[in-house]
């Protein structure tokens, strides 16, 4: 992707550049590559699961390995693929959309990425050291606390480290959006994507600590002999379920809300209309975020909380359908009366509406607490959440990548290949997951290694597997498209889609200081406002002057590397205390790096006016 850069300066320099970068646009590249890589691993795991369930009584993979596969598929897709890919979009777009030169804490931004990456690597190292975690991505105690081997330890350490990275990222974007908006960019003029990221960041801030606490308790139980979840010693296993879902349910909205935002921008741009009911959309986003914290126990209807708790959580869950419905209608009425251009980005967005509506409807069905006694932990649930996460999040990621690819890399992803990737993926998606609703109702629980012959489940499972292969084909075509585009496609202007928001007012890819002069925002869809008055670009809010930028640093990488090393120490000190040496080494590196960061003044650097003028002459400032 950055082939041009590499040719100029050599591979080593490029690697060093990425290891030390604090530039949000480069961090977006890192998130994209890492998230994309884990997405492929998670997809591979999914394919193995579907091959195993292709026919009854299959023995393609063993029972133990199967449980590792489902655990790692879920964990990888949620924490290591969807989250970082969303962070890639957030990094690539949000500072540009609010007219900022970087995020509020560029150093922390880099730290967030490296923590996530090392956490993800720890988790996946478990495949090679005697077995991955096998208690499901939900990791319920006591199955997880008694799980033999070190698999669950890897889960705990990996998620703890990468979760810290996510938390840091969330705080960073919260502060960025509060503090770094260009003059005139009031809250109610922010693009919906920025709004969604704002709400998501708040959700991260409040949801992830619950996971952190849960993981610490689990860590002490497994590694240091505590008994928080051990009922025989007076602990309580159900507490884990609560902690996990207090995090886990908002997590669903953390995943979907940024894509809701992206869809809003895409529908608006490709219909050439402003978003219908902007304030209602903002309100709905905030409301979904708020209600997202009130409904976690709907994952636990069969735990035995009693009819009162079940009813309250059922009704609260149903309430979320209202703001979500508002969004669906507003999107359709954004297109109503518009001038719809069916680009690849728009195709994925348009396909999202019916897919996600189905996911939302099965969500309301699941919310009916009593009926959930039949749906719970069956393939009905598997069908439901894949409709939400694939039909919402993955479709959204594809749409957003097609939409913002030119902004990130200066080239438009090939439209023909884009549509060619869409169709097998879209058809495959519905083939795979629609039938699963019925499989569940016909009596197939989820996480089943085999289903038996003569239970009427053969046809449905076979169809589902065929669909999965179609999705794989679609993904491969998308990858081909990425390679093809980076080799063959021509550079495009800064505004290839006739965009409406600030990111389209600067060159593609943007210079590393983003805006030569901070723009003055005069309304919602600021670029559109200027264009409709016949102007070419934004009016600057400041004279051309020196720009202060942060310095690159290797410290975030070292801090994360230290925790990575210490992680192994924590995991294996259970077997032999000698492993504690890794804890000391790793924590030493981490704390030493933090100390260096604290004591050494790093005042950043200035880009001088003359350089900016040179850039402008080269045409970068158009």
């Amino acid at each position: 992707m950055s082939t041009a850069l590499a040719q100029n300066r050599g591979l080593g320099a490029m690697i060093w550049d990425y290891l030390t970068t604090v530039d949000h646009k480069k961090i977006a590249h890192l998130y994209l590559v890492a998230g994309g890589f884990f997405f492929l691993i998670g997809g591979l795991e999914a394919m193995l699961i579907r091959i195993q369930l292709m026919k009854p009584d299959n023995d393609f993979i063993s029972a133990g390995l199967y449980n590792e596969m489902i655990t790692m598929h879920g964990t990888t897709m949620i924490f290591l693929a969807a989250m970082p890919l969303i962070f890639a979009l957030m990094n690539a777009v949000v500072p540009l959309q609010i007219g900022a030169r970087d995020v509020a804490f560029p150093f922390l931004n880099s730290l967030g990425f490296w923590l996530f990456l090392f956490g993800g690597v720890i988790l996946n190292v478990s495949w090679f050291t005697g077995g991955a975690p096998d208690a499901g991505w939900t990791n319920y105690a006591p199955l997880s606390t008694v799980s033999p081997g070190h698999g669950v330890d890897y889960y705990v350490m990996g998620l703890q480290i990468s979760g810290a990275g996510t938390l840091i990222g969330g705080i960073n974007f919260l502060v960025t959006i509060v503090n770094m908006r260009a003059p005139g960019m009031t809250y109610m003029r922010m693009p919906l994507f920025t709004w969604a990221v704002f709400v998501t960041s708040a959700l991260i801030l409040f949801a992830f600590p619950a996971l952190t606490v849960g993981l610490f308790l689990m860590m002490f139980d497994r590694m240091f002999g505590s008994v928080f979840f051990d009922t025989a010693a007076g602990g309580n296993a159900i507490i884990w379920e609560h902690l996990f879902w207090i995090f886990g349910h908002p997590e669903v909205y953390i995943l979907i809300l940024p894509l809701f935002g992206a869809f809003s921008d895409i529908f608006s741009t490709f219909s050439k209309k402003r978003l219908f009911g902007y304030s209602a959309m903002v309100f709905a986003t905030v409301l979904i975020g708020f209600l997202g914290f009130m409904v976690w126990a709907h994952h636990m209807f069969t735990v035995g909380m009693g009819p009162i708790a079940n009813s309250i959580f059922a009704v609260a869950t149903m309430a979320i359908a209202v703001p979500t419905g508002i969004k669906i209608f507003n999107w359709m009425f954004t297109m109503w009366g518009g001038n719809i251009r069916m680009t690849a980005a728009m195709l994925w967005s348009v396909a999202f509406i019916p897919s996600f509506t189905i996911g939302g409807m099965t969500g309301v069905m699941l919310a009916a607490a009593a009926a959930d006694y039949q749906y719970h932990d069956t393939y009905f649930v598997v069908g439901h959440f894949h409709y939400v996460i694939v039909g919402g999040v993955v479709f959204g990621l594809f749409a957003a990548l097609h939409y913002w690819w030119p902004k990130m890399f200066g080239k438009i992803l090939n439209e023909k290949l884009g549509k060619l990737a869409f169709w097998p993926f879209f058809i495959g998606f519905h083939l795979t997951f629609f039938i699963q609703h019925f499989l569940g109702l016909m009596g197939m629980p989820r996480r089943y290694w085999v289903f038996l012959e003569g239970q009427g489940l053969e046809a449905g499972n076979l169809i589902s597997t065929i669909g999965a292969f179609l999705m794989a084909i679609g993904t491969v075509i998308f990858l081909v498209n990425v390679v093809y585009t980076s080799v063959k496609a021509k550079k495009v202007s800064g505004d290839p889609w006739d965009g409406r928001t600030l990111e389209w007012s600067i060159p593609s890819p943007p210079p590393h200081y983003n805006f030569t002069q901070t723009p003055l925002v005069r309304g919602l869809d600021p670029l559109w406002v200027e264009k409709s008055e016949g102007k070419k670009g934004m009016t600057p809010a400041e004279p051309l002057g020196d720009i202060h930028m942060p310095n690159a640093s290797i410290l975030p990488f070292l801090i994360s590397l230290g925790l990575f090393i210490a992680g192994f120490g924590f995991i294996y000190q259970v077997d032999n205390k000698a492993w504690l040496i890794l804890v000391f080494l790793g924590m030493g590196l981490t704390l030493g790096s933090m100390l260096t960061r604290s004591l050494k003044d790093d005042l950043g650097h200035h880009i001088h006016k003359e350089e900016l003028e040179k850039d402008l002459e080269k045409g970068a400032g158009e």
């Binding site: 209602a280 039949q374 009427g456």
Partner: protein
């Protein structure tokens, strides 16, 4: 006139849906073919929710299709700039209020059903059966404390009456699910006991699954619920209370081997859930270990190497030789103390 037509249409959709969905799945396993009070109630709730959701979906799809066809860019329209509408208060109120009403329509029966299924008003009354259900990796223990009966894997209940289940787990969390009779309920370790009830309408053998990930053999933790008429149920209880575990002459050696090797974990007669399933009426079971066809050959294979059938289970392999296992099998095959439910089991076999 319109209201009447609307009702008729709703009724039509509703019955068409019901017909369509009841075609799905195998008898005695599918939640779409309710054979008991709980599953029946939940099936109706499901149908109400599906009908409401379909109504919404059709409206969404109608607008969606219209918009995409009508407003898609045509040749020569590339420069057309549409009117920049800000919103529409009336429309926005409509699509806020109507969903709220629809959700209330769904919320009322939901809350009703939730309380209905949690009802324990007759529990402990004279003549009301309460059964202790214990989930174990990977088998189920069923105790009838009032009648001093213990069994495993096959749960006998009378038809046409409520039977309460007191549920817990001896190890990790499991979930007890008989889709065609009732919804599921988790069995938790420790003090988080749960209660639910079953009420089967018809006699039959109903398939049960474990529905909470509990280890490698989670998918093999099947069990059966055998619903028999109240008279037969009384007969079964009597049979079970008067078990004579003494073997015939041919199986005497098998019994000795059993007592020396197996008894430590597998009780015969009444008792709390042991390390392994209770064997009292083993020969009446519909399956070996919940999933294997009952034949002597399979039984011997299972005794010698259970790991090959149920990975991760607690029973050690090669505890006895194959010859010894064969003798033990002879003994176990004699543990058929009741004819009750046999006809129902045969019916199931024929169906397959």
């Amino acid at each position: 006139m319109r209201g009447w037509m609307g009702k008729l249409r709703a009724f039509f959709i509703f019955s068409a849906l019901t017909l369509l969905l009841t075609g799905c799945g195998v008898d005695n396993l599918s939640a779409l073919k309710p054979k008991g009070y709980g599953s029946d109630l939940l099936f109706d709730l499901m149908m109400i929710s599906i009908a409401i959701m379909l109504f919404v979906f059709i409206i969404v799809m109608a607008i969606y299709t219209f918009v995409l066809i009508r407003y898609r860019q045509r040749k020569g329209q590339e420069d057309f700039i549409p009117k920049q509408t800000e919103g529409n208060k009336a429309l926005e109120v409509i699509w806020t209020v109507i969903p709220i009403i629809l959700l209330l329509v769904l919320a009322v029966p939901t809350v009703q059903a939730t309380f209905d299924l949690a009802d324990e008003s007759t529990k402990g009354d004279e003549g009301v059966t309460t059964i202790e259900v214990t989930g174990n990796q990977y088998w189920w223990h069923f105790g009838y404390p009032d009648d001093e009966i213990s069994t495993s894997q096959d749960l006998y209940i009378p038809t046409g009456e409520r039977v309460y289940l007191d549920m817990k787990s001896s190890d990790v969390i499991h979930s007890f699910w008989v889709p065609s009779i009732a919804g599921k309920m988790d069995t938790n370790p420790g003090d988080n006991d749960n209660t639910m009830y079953l009420e089967a309408y018809e006699e039959g053998v109903y398939w049960g699954h474990c529905a909470e990930l509990c280890g490698p053999s989670h998918s093999l933790m099947d069990f059966r619920v055998i619903a028999v008429s109240p008279e037969e149920y009384d007969q079964w209880k009597e049979d079970m209370q008067n078990v004579d575990p003494e073997a015939t002459a041919e199986a005497q050696e098998g019994q000795d081997l059993y007592e020396n090797n197996c008894m430590g974990c597998h009780a015969i007669g009444d008792g709390a859930a042991g390390q392994g399933p209770n064997m009292t009426n083993f020969a009446n079971r519909t399956k070996i270990a919940g999933v294997i066809e009952p034949s002597k050959e399979n039984l011997v294979d299972w005794i010698v190497n259970p790991e090959q059938f149920k990975p991760g289970n607690q029973m050690p392999a090669n505890l006895v030789s194959e010859d010894e296992a064969s003798q033990i099998a002879d003994y176990l095959m004699e543990l058929d103390h009741s004819d009750v439910g046999a006809s129902a089991s045969e019916a199931e076999v024929e169906e397959e």
